[in-house]
Symmetry: C2
Subunit: 176 residues, 2 copies
Amino acid sequence: VFIMCLDDASIKWMEVAFNYAEHALTNGEVPVGCVIVFNNSEELAVGRNRVNELKNATRHAELVAIDEALEKINSQLWRNEHPNITDSSEVFKNCVLFVTVEPCIMCCAALRAMKIPKVVYGCNNERFGGCGSVLSIHSDKLLDSSLGPVLSSIGGQQTLRAINLLKDFYKQDNPN
Amino acid sequence: VFIMCLDDASIKWMEVAFNYAEHALTNGEVPVGCVIVFNNSEELAVGRNRVNELKNATRHAELVAIDEALEKINSQLWRNEHPNITDSSEVFKNCVLFVTVEPCIMCCAALRAMKIPKVVYGCNNERFGGCGSVLSIHSDKLLDSSLGPVLSSIGGQQTLRAINLLKDFYKQDNPN
């Protein structure tokens, strides 16, 4: 994982992801937020953790956003606005996911399966991060032919802000 | 992975999983089917691959079944039938997943996150299996405190039947 400076557009998208992380926090969820950006310019879908709300441990921000993106892409309105797109896989190939915390192993595998080529994230996920912190699902060559192409990842964006949000959540949860 | 003989009930549940795998095949999907069984006796939910139908590469049989199980558990009807259950996590802790093909890395992580303690599967998934064939997401101790408890796995049930279903699918796909 390289810590790189982001361009202005990317900084703006990280801000969108953080807004959704804060939204998660105010709703009693682990504060992780994300946005899927198409063609470097279009907000395709946002997501935030909904595990508690839905009592579904798989409803991480990334999976929520993927489902929302698919719903949008398959809508007639969006198709009318993008007449050259015939298949949703063309869309995901040109997307970047911005997320406040490193995707977990499950979500990394899902991003590769969707053929999203790039993820930009805030802090590392030392507990079950899939972009290098625990396993390297994003870049494991063994998975190339099956799970999907390698996922390029840029971590370390506003790390402290992302960590502080998580700390705020765990403080609420454990008042002692 | 140990190849073990199953009891009669488990053989019956594998049959249910295979029925859904065949259902997937007749619907143009990679033929993988599964069933989530509660308390060794109750069919909580079934699932089969729906990736093509929903154009969503994350809709593997296991994730489909998890969502269906949650819908059922949260229904008033099911709650009336199980008055002692107050939380869906109590249900998943007492479930076994029977699936025709070894769960992939994403699905293994999801099963652990849901705290399902055991999976019984047919053939190995040499391409992206998470129960030992490519990675050992099911038993990786690094993930204990975060992703969820270790998932015990029993593979090799009716391996040839599961493989033949997959072969039938890929034959259809590649007529040359």
